[in-house]
Symmetry: D2
Subunit: 385 residues, 4 copies
């Protein structure tokens, strides 16, 4: 991982801690505890969990550290079996206590203890974990935005959060062409990156073309209008089961109000702007759309190789690659080894980043991953052929 | 139903409205929205629903009334199909909006409108609905206490609510004997009562004996120690399935801490006082306990006839009677007809009242009813033979 | 229970054993193992289980008895926890072995051993268990008919079984009137009866009227045509949930074929004869129909008292009584005590008998019981007011 | 696909039809209809479905063909949405009708009609579909063996099928080493193969080593004895959930009898031969075992490239490759396009073949695929590093 001065790290640590709180600022106290579906975590939980990460993996290793509260490890551990038992994921939304105020005190306490630690020279090993902790909290910032949108979007009152995290119309058109050959894939050690993207290696690609822009709402509406959701020939078998069982006929957050399509945005329920990239589609929908177009989704390797050809970064882009270990993948030792590797099954790689991705948390080697049915992330579609 | 002066009703209306808010006063904002299991409703929902009841069944009938918010009927309707669609019971806990503050404004608005209405002469019909609305809110006050206890009891931090709603040691002993004969059952029209307890009629009872006190924690511990929870001979078939599936080995809220029995109370997690009546048992457990004792639970008729023989009112007492219509039962017209009758299936009658029952909401003809697996109500056991 | 000579019992034993096999005679080998829903047991299982009953409760008590097969107790025990572990009810349909031929050998072996036993003087206690075993097998004969109809009715090919167990048009009309008063209920010891109907006792009834005939298919069609299945006001809350979840719009086995109502009968798929009593309705449907008519279902006590007034025996008749113990109910000792008592929860009493009830297994004190959602039994509706 | 003379095809057609029936010959009639879990299909269904395939895709295109039975298309369609509605997969085990005898008549009728067709010159297109139909039936022959083993293995009586389909001890040891480079992957048109393995293309591989033999029962026992099933660090997250939920502690069919490991085989319940390859493990178990060994599973590309180095064909071998389309994958037109492509999600590629694979149905380009939790197939483990 990376080498950095204490000072720079300290600044970045302070920034990540205050940014997380700023994302939550528009919320009402009541919003912080909601978990309307098990994929979503309550904002309060994100606030506590990112704090617990620094407490568990850094402060608790420091001699003389006094934990803020003995029960918080049980409450705010996510999925680290190494660390011990924890509140079930599906029951995070049952916790009214600790209160938001208590969690904010917990944040303050841990932030201050960490800052004090960072004011003095410390081991490279701890610095590396700080780096991970910062990146970890940046990841949760993005999840926070997804979860906030889902929580507020589930309210019959469709409340306004803020005019933030919106996408732009793309002006590019056409396809870029790439030639067959051996290409390097993955990251080297010059900057911070996760274990799952390391181990730079060669991959052979065939000739391919890839779109210079994302699929728009207008194009997706054509798919809907053409009966795309009911033409079984377009769908993966599991995708068809999914949309039938969940009764899905449009992207998440789309609502037909008096015959006109609206969608819930962080700025409230508004008419759809047809020129913007379609978002909140599952892999199943992305794949069916591509099939309907007579095209396909790019592999993660094609995407990475071609990434200089187009602007990316508005929405995470579904690839047609399953999330699997790179050759020579080595998972980190200890609890941090649970970060990525154990999820390498039944998930799909997404490349790029989104308008909700923190600045500096974006690179073309990044391997994001979600289950193919996920729709609440900021996802979009880029076609390939 | 009852005849009462406007003035008295107005006082009682004011009291019931402020009492509900007083019950919620010890809560944190975060507690108001929780629904850790589908039987429990968030306190915020109770606050809104009892308000909606007055708005829907009284104010909306008044010419010129302006509803507080057009979406609140959808949010706060409980189960009245007559009135229209509603938020699913299991999703009440997903509502962060309206906020507690907004719900309190809603309460204030509706309370004031009602008080103004009650300041002038009004129809007997509306007065009758006020009476029902007051009794309805009193019922929800009791449910609020159950739900608050369940919500707080589900927190790993076991927070303290207040030293309220606690039971007392009973000094009575032995059994009262009653002779066979024809006895009157049910209520007449001299005071307010629900449709399900009206239609006074005769019931023939055999000789029976009934305990002068409730079963204590100490007696129940003997049942546990004797292997009561694993002796299938003692249990109804569905009861056995229930305790096995839910892995139940003690009353709700009992926790074995370092080998010593504690239970969660509204005053926090404390050691069990063995002299107090056992509470938070299901009908299945009450029935198995009685069988283990070589006795049985009384029928609702036996209980009602014998009720003068003992002090009652600490805990609702499971009877061995299914909740069924009395002869000549007539359900009320319109939405209020959905109040009781449609639940007369697969539920068990409980008689008496509890420490959480509002004063004045208690009478020996009252027919409370819950599913046999319910444990979060303030329930206890009286033996019969 | 009853006193009877060995000889008569022996004859009845032989008859019950051969009758069971005769009921199965029209089946194909493949039909014997099917369990299309967990309420239904495979015919093969009934054949084995009724045999196991005699083996377990009689032969295994006889010195020197050699069990037919050591694993059969595990396979053919139904729900007797006293006796040991068993195949889960829901997995009875997974057993291809033992084969039908093996089960028939098992029947032959046990029948012969029992007959030998009955050829010599034996204890009254064993005779009593023989009596229960015969009644037990008679009960299973009726269940066999229900289960066979369900299994064959689930085949897309709608096979014909035989022209048996059909009902007749009733010629009676009008209502019988009964006067209020104390009436005796329950059975005495003069003939065989189950523990749940014993303990003759007095019940006070109000004036009531009860229909002289069952509700017909024609009357029930009016209810359907009038939107009965979609008028929530007519339904118990759990009934409404049930018909919505199961998407029920007509009695079980009714099929609309090219716009005309047919129903599956043991004689194949035929057009409905509108004059016959409606059958295969749940308690929920019976109750909703009665409410639609402005009437109600009789209680089990009313039915028993009035039973001389009308012809009964074509279909089991839903009452409005929950299945609960009579006063002074005593369950039998040992495994046989599990026969009735442990099911006294969340079930409804049906009175009478049906065309599928074995001759001699019918009396007006009989208390049959099923869950309110059950529809595969031969059930019908008699109105009361 | 392939070019072949009518005559040869006719012989192969006759062989595949009679082979399927020979596999079923040891069964009792009762075994034919069982479906103890939804992954398993009743043998009778396989017999009918493979027949329906020839009827639907060949005979029904022939002028004047008279279908054997109008309802059989509904009964025996598997998952071809193109063709119409069908019996739900999970309800195949509820069909007692058509009987085995009727299905055998159906087979005979269709076989004879096909043979007549093959006696005269026919279009290449129909010949190609015959080729697919034969391969299709060969695939079902292998599934039949899996399903028969599962059905019989679920019987408490552990019946013997026959001493067939058993594996051999492997004598090879050590690892083969392969060098990095570009390798060809996939099939060309010189022999029959499926659409999913076509489109020969280049893949770049790193240096790797691959075991010359499969993991044995003895080696797997070490993993169990070392606590492999309870060391969360070894498992994929979904794998851990799976073994916990299903309470899995050993391969499928392993039973601890009086402290000694046995396993159910087609030849009955026998003591485990420790020298034989371990079988009936899920991908999750294969992956955890490899991790425990400090190694990994090969990719499907490594396996294919290295396949000349070792003997394969005893068991299907889990790879670490997700089942995804090859570059330039084209699915076939019409219903046959549903054969492979729509399952390319959340499944894992297995390479090789097994003792249950029909002769001639095996090649190193074959891409078999199952969900990672599947254990009833004849699967094994080959390590890589």
């Amino acid at each position: 991982m990376s080498i950095e001065t204490n000072l720079n790290l300290k600044k970045r640590f302070e920034k990540v801690r205050s940014d997380t709180e700023r994302i939550c600022a528009p919320l009402e106290i009541e919003d912080y505890g909601m978990q309307p579906t098990s994929d979503v975590s309550p904002p309060k939980w994100h606030l506590g969990h990112t704090t617990w990460f620094f407490e568990e993996f850094i402060l608790s290793k420091v001699k003389g550290y006094k934990p803020f509260h003995s029960a918080f490890s049980f409450v705010f551990n996510s999925y680290y079996d190494t660390v011990g038992s924890r509140v079930l994921r599906s029951q995070r939304g049952d916790l009214s206590r600790p209160t938001v105020r208590q969690v904010m005190s917990y944040r303050k306490y841990v932030t201050e203890q960490c800052l004090e630690l960072l004011s003095n020279p410390i081991d490279q090993e701890l610095l590396d974990i700080f780096e991970i902790g910062i990146n970890h909290e940046e990841q949760h910032q993005e999840l926070l935005v997804y979860d906030i949108k889902y929580i507020l979007g589930a309210q019959p009152l469709f409340p306004i959060y803020a005019d933030m995290f919106s996408t732009q119309r793309e002006v590019n058109t056409g396809f870029s062409q790439l030639e067959a050959g051996l290409y390097p894939i993955g990251a080297d050690h010059l900057y911070f990156c996760y274990d799952n993207e390391m181990g730079k290696h060669k991959v052979y690609l065939q000739d391919f073309e890839i779109a210079n822009k994302l699929v728009t709402n207008a194009e997706y509406l054509e798919f809907i209008a053409d009966g795309g959701y009911s033409d079984f020939n377009l769908w993966l078998s599991e995708g068809l089961d999914f949309i039938r069982k969940e009764d899905i006929h449009a992207p998440l957050y789309w609502h037909l109000v008096d015959g006109e399509w609206h969608h819930y945005t962080l700025n409230g329920l508004v008419k759809i702007n047809w020129d913007l990239p379609v978002q909140h589609v599952s892999y199943y929908e992305a794949q069916a759309f591509a099939t309907w177009k007579g095209m396909r989704l790019p592999t993660e390797f094609e995407w990475e190789v071609a990434s200089e050809k187009y602007n990316w970064g508005q929405l995470w882009e579904w690839t047609n690659s399953a999330y699997l270990p790179y050759p020579n993948f080595q998972k980190a030792a200890g609890a941090l080894g649970e970060y990525n590797g154990k999820f390498m099954c039944n998930q799909i790689v997404l490349k790029g980043s989104s308008v909700a991705t923190p600045i500096g948390h974006s690179r073309n080697t990044y391997r994001n991953f979600f289950h193919p049915s996920s729709r609440w992330l900021f996802s979009g579609i880029r076609l390939s052929k």
